[in-house]
Amino acid sequence: MSDYTLYVASVYLLALAVYGGYTLRWRLAYKKLEAQLASHSQESA
């Protein structure tokens, strides 16, 4: 490995943070919404 290691590593970590981060965030938001929807339908039942 040459002295570009820092540049290369930062790009791969950034990709993980952006793509992984957003996907995780959207999944969690979905789970939360589903829970809210479930409690709604329980109330009305």
């Binding site: 490995m1 040459s2 570009y4 290691t5 540049y7 290369v8 930062s10 790009v11 791969y12 950034l14 990709a15 952006v18 793509y19 957003y22 996907t23 959207w26 999944r27 938001a29 979905y30 919404l33 589903e34 809210q36 929807l37 709604h40």
Partner: protein, 232 residues
């Protein structure tokens, strides 16, 4: 929604496998004789740039379908594609800058590709902001779809006007000179191809995740609106 859940599962699995294979090839690939190890940045940068544009294409098609057929699912996919596309564009710009610093000596050059990418990012942001600043969701959806089409017309004009500008007005910069043309051949090619495929799957997966979130959000909003109406 069960079908979407199944699709999501299999696309997610395929994404993980192809990303793992691609990254293994990246690890195995030799360093470029000109760029050294920095060429490994391009394995993320190039597929990200492809997906940033591909997401816009997807968004445009979904917007046209929504305006034409009034399918709400097309609108949900368009909204999801804007968020996903913005993520890919951010990473394209960031990784391009990080690659440019050791290769060109600067973080940023105003060449056609970088300028278009920057405009693309603002456009994605504009689409997201426009949708949520109109109170009526149908008006918001329609305005967003129209803006998406206007943007699709504008992006090529922007690209070619900057190319023109650079060739007619400015001396060839580092970015448009011969030495900056990136040729990836031979043993460097397989990881790029595999990762490009993996990123298409990743984009699809992210769109399904985002679309399900949006769909749940809309169901909840409708439920709450109905309840408020009921209480009155």
């Amino acid at each position: 929604m069960n079908i979407l859940k199944k699709i999501q599962f299999f696309v997610g699995l395929a994404t993980l496998i192809s990303l793992a294979v691609g990254l293994w090839y990246v690890y195995q690939a030799p360093a470029d004789f000109q760029q050294g190890g920095a060429v490994r940045i391009l394995y993320i940068h190039v597929p990200s740039a492809k997906l940033a544009l591909l997401s816009y294409l997807f968004l445009t098609v979904a917007s046209i379908l929504y305006l034409w057929k009034r399918w709400e699912s097309a609108d949900i996919l368009a909204e999801a594609a804007a968020s996903v596309g913005a993520a890919f564009t951010v990473l394209t710009l960031a990784s391009g800058s990080i690659w440019g610093k050791p290769m060109w000596g600067t973080w940023w050059v105003w060449d056609a590709r970088l300028t278009s990418m920057l405009v693309l990012l603002i456009l994605y942001k504009g689409l997201m902001v426009l949708r949520h600043s109109l109170d009526d969701p149908v008006k918001g959806a329609r305005a967003t779809a129209v803006l998406a089409i206007i943007g699709a017309v504008d992006l090529p004009i922007i690209h070619y006007s900057v190319v023109w500008w650079r060739t007619l007005h400015q001396p060839p910069s580092l970015a448009s000179g011969e030495n900056a043309q990136v040729h990836i051949t031979g043993p460097l090619l397989p990881p790029l191809l595999i990762l490009s495929g993996a990123f298409i799957l990743l984009g699809l997966y992210m769109v399904t995740v985002k679309a399900r979130q949006i769909e749940a959000r809309r169901r909840l909003d409708a439920l709450e609106a109905a309840r408020m109406h009921h209480d009155e």
